[in-house]
């Protein structure tokens, strides 16, 4: 996984509360088998008019927000479906950090698995950042995970809290499966003392229709 230490970039505002993952990547793109290439699908139904023409009314399409890499969002960002396609799309579009007052649990978790830093600030702080981003064209923020600070070029500095373990994993870009496998003796010991199995007590899974070849 890509590490996240510090990132400076153009800010794009997404001024909607409760943005769900169905909006981030609609159902028709859930049939692809890669983790890459979802940037094109991000906010698909909001971003495009029929025929994939850019919707000029959607903020991400405003010329001033082209090339944004810090996404400013509202409360409960990423609610709904567990689809990891949502953070894949956010990353592939070019965002490295999100700033919002709150996130849905599964989405929040998924961000950390993909090298995206979801920063949580208070409603008032996020409100203030929205005002700055909308007022000043080319507004950029620096998100520093090492020092746990969001800052801008005018001298604004907002410290933020984050779980120390998540922070550490993201700073180092750790492979968390590798980390867990270091506990292999404990997993084996647990399995020995808690034998788990799923024995079947009656015949199941008879084909009721033969697949056509």
């Amino acid at each position: 996984m890509q590490a996240f230490v510090k990132h400076t970039g153009l800010v794009a505002p997404m001024d909607r509360v409760n943005v769900d993952t169905d909006q981030m990547v609609p159902k028709q793109f859930l049939k692809l088998q890669t983790r890459e290439g979802f940037g094109r699908t991000l906010f698909y139904d909001w971003r495009y008019l029929p025929g994939e023409a850019l919707n000029p009314e959607f903020p991400l399409n405003f010329p001033r927000y082209r090339g944004a890499s810090v996404l400013l969002a509202r409360a409960n960002f990423g609610c709904g479906s567990s689809r990891e396609h949502a953070p894949w799309a956010i990353l592939d579009y070019g965002f490295r950090a999100i700033i919002a007052p709150s996130y849905a649990d599964i989405f929040y978790n998924n961000c950390f698995k993909n090298g995206i830093l979801p920063v949580t600030l208070s409603d008032a702080q996020v409100d203030d950042l929205f005002k700055r981003a909308e007022k000043q064209e080319g507004y950029r923020l620096t998100v520093d995970l090492q020092d746990q600070v969001v800052s801008d070029e005018s001298g604004l500095r907002i410290p933020f809290e984050i779980d120390p373990f998540r922070r550490d994993c993201l700073l180092k870009g750790l492979d968390d499966i590798g980390l867990t496998l270091e506990h292999e003796p404990h997993i084996s010991a647990y399995e020995k003392s808690n034998p788990k199995s799923a024995p079947m007590y009656e015949a199941v899974d008879v084909k009721i229709a033969a697949p056509q070849t």
Partner: protein, 473 residues
């Protein structure tokens, strides 16, 4: 020892390793997978040269993109076909049991888990799908995960997890006729909001919950995620044990009796404490209908579409305004004046046999309104379908003008060709009314199976309590 909650008991029994300053490593008893979110996990596993640690605890099924029409026909959607082929190949290579689209046990993953007894009390259960919370109804800790976590569980049979806070939600009093567990959970979400449960695991209790069938309890746990809580659960009781006895993967004979004794001990201890408690008087509840674009935008069927100006919070006001534009609804419109174009009875929320019986009872001897373009009845599994056909429910649906389909996720998510067209309005027994959920530009109203069935007959929402629903459940 201090009194423990059901959640704490299951959690403690599954801790593999605890390191100070780190999340706990939790053992996973059952891992359910489907074609939609698993291909990238298997690919990642393969790329890293890792193996599936416990294929015997992993179960796969095809549900999200399957056709609900004739499955003997070739799959024309190349992307969907690719997903099916990938799942088949991945399961074959790793030894994971697969219920493919031709299996007699095929169905929506959250329907077949409990139905086959794969899901049992006291277990930890995960699946790459947010509605995994459904399985909590048997007294398990079950929650949805992302694809990276699927890969993690495949490789290690464990997950790294921080402990959640706990909420106790009690429904007391006698549930009125025509009011279902769907109305319980919609009422709760309307009350606490769709982020009200973020960071929590909910336990449902109270005599009105105890009086529910296990299938009805599943509907509540299923939609727990719509209130922001990752998992919902209920203490296992006699209703649970009766439901599970004889299921294909549930122990038999003496082993079953031993299991029941163990399961009985899972109930929260008297005096166990929770981070918050909500009490709801079930006897005062009415059938619910959503009017907006998230499940928290919900009201009584006797009520009206709210005026955005009635919301004191400016954020809620703005969200309501936007929702009403999307839904093409005017403030003050009586809910019962809202006309529906299509009706969908199905999904992991409400497609079990009791749901179909209730809907069939409502429509028996009647016919779908002329103004309704399509009414779909989609059983949650092929086992449900066979049972329904044994009871003659298929005939009742067909005679009333419904289409009777094969099992799958269908119009809840519209990944197959069961899509709600743009601008059209549905009465749906599913779980999400997000923008575009059932199809781009589609407008969804979430209701119970009886309410959806009645809307199909009348062409608009009706208060099902005014109909004869004796024997509907």
């Amino acid at each position: 020892m201090a009194p423990q909650t059901l959640y704490e008991k299951i959690w403690n029994a599954h801790v593999v390793r605890e390191v100070p300053g780190q999340p706990s490593l939790i053992y996973i008893d059952r891992h359910l997978i489907h074609e939609g979110t698993s291909p990238q996990a298997f690919a990642g596993l393969k790329a890293a040269g890792r193996k599936v640690r416990r294929p015997d605890l992993t179960f796969a099924v095809m549900d999200h993109s399957v056709s609900t029409k004739n499955r003997l026909l070739p799959v024309l959607d190349a992307d969907a076909r690719g997903q099916f082929e990938a799942l088949e190949r991945n399961c074959k290579e790793t030894g994971v049991r697969l219920f493919d689209m031709h299996s007699r046990n095929q169905g929506i993953v959250h329907i077949i888990g409990p139905e086959l007894g794969i899901t049992q009390p006291g277990q930890t259960i995960v699946c790459g799908d947010s509605h995994t919370s459904t399985h909590g109804a048997v007294g398990a800790l079950a929650f949805g995960i992302g694809t990276s976590e699927i890969e993690h569980v495949l490789a290690t049979q464990c997950l790294s997890q921080a402990k959640s806070k706990t909420g106790l939600i009690r429904f007391n009093g006698k549930r009125p006729k025509g009011v279902t567990s769907k109305d319980f959970i919609l009422t709760l979400i309307g009350k606490i909001g769709i982020a009200g449960g973020t960071g929590y695991v909910f336990e449902y209790a109270g005599d009105a919950v105890r009086a529910l069938s296990l299938e009805a309890r599943m509907t509540m746990c299923n939609m727990t995620i719509e209130g922001g809580a990752r998992a919902g659960m209920m203490a296992p009781d006699e209703t649970t044990f009766k439901y599970l006895e004889g299921k294909p993967f549930v122990p038999r004979g003496k082993e079953f009796q031993e299991a029941v004794e163990h399961w009985k001990a899972l109930a929260s201890d008297p005096g166990a404490t929770y981070d918050f408690v909500v009490d709801i008087d079930a006897s005062k509840l009415a059938p619910q209908v959503t009017w907006g674009t998230n499940p928290g935008m919900v009201t009584d069927v006797t009520s009206r579409v709210p005026d955005p100006n009635s919301f004191s919070d400016p954020v809620d006001k703005k969200a309501a305004e936007r929702a009403l534009v999307y839904m093409d609804l005017k403030p003050g419109t009586p809910i019962t004046d809202i006309l529906v174009d299509r009706v969908f009875i199905g999904s992991c929320t409400n497609s079990r046999i009791e749901d179909l019986r209730a809907a069939a009872h409502v429509i028996a001897g009647k016919h779908v309104a002329k103004s309704v373009k399509q009414a779909l009845a989609v059983p949650g599994s092929r086992v449900v379908k066979v049972q329904a056909e044994k009871e003659g429910l298929d005939k009742i649906f067909l005679d009333a003008g419904f289409e009777w389909r094969d099992a799958g996720c269908s119009m809840c998510i519209g990944m197959n060709d069961d899509v709600l067209p743009s601008g059209e309005r549905s009465a749906s027994t599913s779980n999400r009314n997000f923008e575009g959920r059932q199809g781009k530009g589609s407008r969804t109203h979430l209701v119970s199976p009886m309410m959806a069935a009645a809307a199909a007959i009348e062409g608009h929402f009706v208060d099902i309590r005014k109909w004869d629903v004796n024997g509907a459940e």
